[in-house]
């Protein structure tokens, strides 16, 4: 095992990005990563042996090279004998190595099952065509947090994601934390995460789900339990109707097309078919990772969503410049 770990670093180059299986920022990710190191190490060793064997055969063959074609005389059976033994040794060695790797896999599986056994925090993630609906479960109904395209996790605790889908098959994959699980309509699967390092990571849908499969990302923020508690309480706070400059934007949001699909806690707008916007301004990105959150990007997205994410289900709502400015001002207040 240690020998494999030595070889590995030179093969998985570069520090792990925010969306990389090398990140290993959770117990699950680390377990899988270590198993991958074992497999990679064994694979490199086996490959080296095969190449050496091939090279020797080619070199020996080069010495006996010949121009003329045709039969060169059937090699004597005595010459064949060592190769028969070699074949048996090779086959049994391969079987033994594979058996060892199967045992390593089984051990990792058991450890993964144990790591995800009990989870104080339950989160339901529902895949839709090209965005994620995230619901933090709580026995008290009023404390259920509904958000979209973002996932906050307390470090050092296990969180269980219950994965569902509203339309086609998606796949929740946070490479830094753990492996992926498909979200299949009509079925429920689960994914346990036990982050060990704080930071922001990026998850992405890993099963082709249509036109905007490429822009279906999720911001994962791992923070200390205290910060997580603070974020959780902030999410529970509904958004009252604002005064001043944002009031015009609020009126547009409630009376025009926005309220038909989107919901903002504490206001009449309660559409369920599009992401919940109660605390949209507190998120890092817009439209499932398509644009980083900023005032200009909000304006750019709302004015023409089809330009940013062609084919997504948000229509181009006809807005004048002033209406757009007012609406964006209102959205900025939804911290």
């Amino acid at each position: 095992m240690k020998r494999a770990a030595l070889i590995l670093p030179l093969l998985a180059p570069g520090c792990a990005g925010i969306q990389s299986a090398n990140g290993r920022d959770a117990v699950q990710g680390a377990l899988i990563g270590r198993l991958f190191d074992v497999f990679l190490g064994v694979a490199v060793v086996v490959y080296a042996l095969v190449i050496v064997y091939l090279a020797l055969a080619l070199l020996r063959g080069r010495r006996h090279r010949r121009r003329e074609s045709g039969l060169q005389g059937e090699p004597a059976p005595s010459l064949e004998r060592p190769w028969r033994i070699g074949l048996i040794l090779f086959a049994s060695a391969t079987a033994l190595i594979l058996f060892g790797l199967a045992i390593a896999t089984w051990l990792t599986d058991r450890a993964l099952a144990k790591a995800g056994a009990e989870a104080p925090l339950e989160v339901e993630v529902i895949g839709n065509q090209w965005w994620w609906e995230v619901r933090y479960q709580d026995p008290v109904a009023s404390r259920i947090v509904r958000t979209a395209n973002e996932l906050h996790l307390p470090v050092g605790q296990t969180t269980r994601l219950t994965l569902k889908s509203n339309d086609v098959i998606h796949s929740m994959w946070i490479p830094n934390l753990s492996g992926k699980q498909d979200m299949i309509p009509g079925r429920e699967s689960d994914l346990a995460l036990h982050p060990t390092r704080t930071g922001t990571f990026r998850a992405q849908c890993a099963e082709f789900c249509g036109m905007q499969h490429a822009n279906m990302a999720l911001d994962v923020t791992v923070e200390s339990p205290a910060d997580f508690r603070r974020w959780y309480e902030a999410q529970l706070v509904p958004q009252p109707a604002p005064g001043g400059a944002a009031a015009a934007g609020y009126a547009i949001f409630q009376n025009r097309q926005c309220a038909s699909c989107h919901a903002v806690g504490g206001t009449p707008a309660s559409g369920q078919v599009a992401p919940d916007l109660t605390h949209v301004a507190s998120r890092n990105t817009i439209a499932a990772g398509a644009l980083p959150m900023s005032r200009e990007n909000l304006a750019r997205w709302v004015s023409d969503p089809q330009a940013v994410k062609p084919g997504n289900n948000m229509p181009k709502v006809p807005l004048s410049q002033s209406e757009l400015g007012a609406l964006v001002a209102y959205l900025e207040t939804l911290k």
């Binding site: 039969l71 079925r187 082709f208 084919g311």
Partner: protein, 640 residues
């Protein structure tokens, strides 16, 4: 009707009728008709095989162009070269074309052309069924590509997971056309499999017992049985998908007791044997090439044949490794991990035997041998990443990422296309009577080999670094930019090398130096026939005494077959004792007409389910006319 007494007034080959005189008569009997009608009516396995090969290489080119377009779009983050809709159509068409329209048909092409020559007979069994299968394959490919040109190309991936490919989330006729194309190519592959199985079992030269068959013929027999047992699965799945989309059945509708995973089970039950259907003929090529260029029979003949059988058997037991992320029970997965790992043992054994053959033989490093070495170096990497993918936890990280894309390109291009290019170079003299140029061959090999590694090795790293599969673009600053650029540039060099190879083929077809019957001094029976082979392949049916007929001093032949009508000998299955004289069907256009009727029925059934009932009447008429004996009844039967 009393016992069939052979009337002596028929002209038969033998000591009194041999050499040039026999050649004239046999050529007259077995030749294709002249001109276009002759071409359409042909049932000669060599012309059908060549047609399959040319069509498959055309589809390889088309699929390659799509790959180039994808690499341009992915060469950097956020490119707008292709929109999402067009890119999704392109990657689906790339996968579908390469798997259904290139890989399986090209192996069929080589098998149809070479198997009758290698087992010493004059045509495949059921040659008209072969002709029918080519027309169905051509119709399926044309349907798909015409639809793609008309913006009706499928866009749900080459395995079209439901419900995305279902009626609600794939509006229009795009996925219907994909599903119907699968039906076309599956009918074609099944027809070829049936005819090859019967050919190999019943038409071997007298004396060629099962233990003396060339390894390539063994590979094709096992592949044919795998096609027969796996293709019905995709036929059923795509018909159920078409029913869901057109007549409202509920197979995959999770709201009405259906299950999207039913599609995945049925598709991958076919999907995984399919990739072994592509790899095993390539393993057969390598065994033949290594045997010819090291001047000795491939080491461990029985071991390799058993390894081929083991691969064929195991292939049916590991399809769930494509579904490790779908949340099925973990104990079931453990079985599939074991099976997926176990399937690498037969492949490893074959690699061991090939290298042992090179070690103990006296190799000549011609171009085909370079392709074999390139194959071993590349395929072993693909095999090892395959073992990684067999382990569930690792697969959960790398499934549907560019790591998997790298894996299957290593085992499909490295494992099947490299041996195929070597095999084309090796048998080119037999196909065309001219040698491919050594120099150009070496250049295109090294160019292909190196640019292949440059294109696909970085994909391993990009996959581990988190880039999912089938994304039409990706954000900047994820650490994927340079690796994708390297892949894109190498991809163009690789495309260039394949074009160079095809150019070498085209140039050598006319300008190559004349090839003798057996330029490599190889032991197989196909090298006993002329280059290019006469329409009747062998003047006299050869008799086989051991595994390497042409290296045996004794090369006896049989005689006594009729020469003015198409006739060849059937032998018993196990030890190939001569058993019957079998008339071989005459050329006819009915297979084309039946294929056209089937095409009309298949395509119109996309638009209205009634077409299935109405459309099957012309097919029935065409098939009856195809089988109905024509002309006056012959006492000694001839299939008109």
């Amino acid at each position: 009707m009393s016992e069939e007494r052979p009337r002596d007034d028929y002209l038969r080959d033998g000591p009194n009728l041999t050499g040039a005189e026999l050649d004239a008569v046999l050529d007259e009997t077995w030749r294709d008709g002249p001109g276009l009608m002759g071409w359409i009516r042909s049932v000669d396995h060599k012309s059908i095989g060549k047609r399959y090969l040319v069509t498959a290489i055309v589809f390889l080119g088309l699929g390659g162009i799509l790959a180039a377009l994808m690499r341009i779009q992915l060469s950097g983050p956020g490119h707008h070269f292709l929109g999402p809709d067009r890119y999704n159509q392109i990657f689906t068409m790339h996968g579908t074309t390469m798997m259904f329209l290139f890989a399986v048909p090209v192996m069929d092409a080589m098998a149809i052309y070479l198997v009758p020559l290698m087992i010493g007979t004059r045509n495949t069994a059921f040659p008209r069924l072969n002709a029918f299968s080519y027309w169905m394959y051509l119709a399926g490919g044309t349907l798909l590509w015409v639809a793609f040109v008309l913006n009706v190309g499928p866009d749900a991936g080459w395995f079209s997971y439901v419900p995305l490919a279902g009626p609600e989330y794939s509006p229009g006729k795009r996925v219907d056309i994909w599903a119907q194309m699968v039906t076309f190519t599956e009918v074609a592959a099944l027809a070829v499999a049936v005819s090859l199985t019967a050919t190999i079992l019943k038409k071997r030269a007298p004396g060629m017992t099962l233990a003396r068959m060339p390894i390539f013929v063994w590979a094709i027999l096992i592949v044919s049985l795998m096609v027969i047992l796996s293709m019905p699965s995709v036929a059923l799945a795509s018909s159920m998908l078409l029913a869901d989309r057109l007549v409202g059945t509920q197979f995959y509708n999770s709201y009405e007791l259906g299950d999207p995973l039913l599609w995945q089970h049925l598709f991958w039950f076919f999907g995984h044997p399919e990739v072994y259907i592509i790899f095993l003929p390539a393993a057969g090529f390598v065994s033949e090439i290594v045997q010819a260029y090291t001047g000795r029979q491939t080491f461990g003949y029985t071991t390799i044949v058993l390894a081929l059988c083991a691969t064929g058997l195991l292939a049916f037991g590991l399809w769930v490794h494509h579904m490790f992320a779908t949340g099925l029970p973990r104990l079931g997965y453990a079985f599939y991990t074991a099976a997926s790992m176990a399937v690498s043992i037969p492949a490893g054994i074959q690699i061991f035997c090939w290298i042992a053959t090179i070690w103990t033989g006296r190799p000549r490093f011609m171009v085909p041998m370079l392709w074999v070495v390139g194959f071993i170096v590349t395929f072993v990497i693909g095999g090892l990443t395959g073992v990684m993918l067999a382990s569930v936890p690792i697969d959960l990280q790398v499934h549907d990422t560019y790591f998997v894309v790298a894996h299957f390109h290593y085992v499909l291009i490295g494992g099947a296309v490299f041996p195929l290019l070597g095999a084309i170079t090796y048998w080119f003299p037999k196909f065309t009577g001219r040698m491919m140029s050594e120099g150009l061959g070496k250049v295109s090999f090294w160019l292909s080999f190196l640019s292949f590694q440059g294109t696909f090795f970085p994909m391993h790293i990009v996959g581990i670094e988190g880039m999912p599969r089938r994304v039409y673009t990706y954000p900047a600053g994820m650490g994927w930019d340079t690796l994708n650029l390297i892949s894109s540039i190498s991809a163009f060099v690789f495309a260039g090398s394949v074009i160079l190879f095809v150019a070498n083929m085209l140039l050598s077809m006319r300008g190559g130096e004349q090839a003798p019957d057996n330029p490599w001094g190889a032991p197989g029976l196909e090298w006993k026939a002329a280059s290019p082979p006469r329409p009747y392949n062998h003047a006299h049916i050869p008799i086989v005494l051991d595994n390497t007929p042409l290296w045996n001093a004794e090369q006896p032949v049989a005689y006594g077959l009729r020469v003015e009508d198409r006739e060849l000998v059937l032998t018993t299955v196990l030890d190939a004792r001569p058993d019957l004289r079998e008339p071989s069907p005459e050329p006819t256009a009915w297979p084309l007409i039946a294929a056209l009727a089937t095409t009309v029925m298949f395509i119109s059934s996309i638009f209205t389910p009634w077409a299935v009932a109405i459309g099957s009447v012309p097919i029935g008429v065409a098939l009856i006319a195809w089988f109905w004996p024509k002309g006056p009844p012959h006492p000694d039967p001839v299939i008109e």
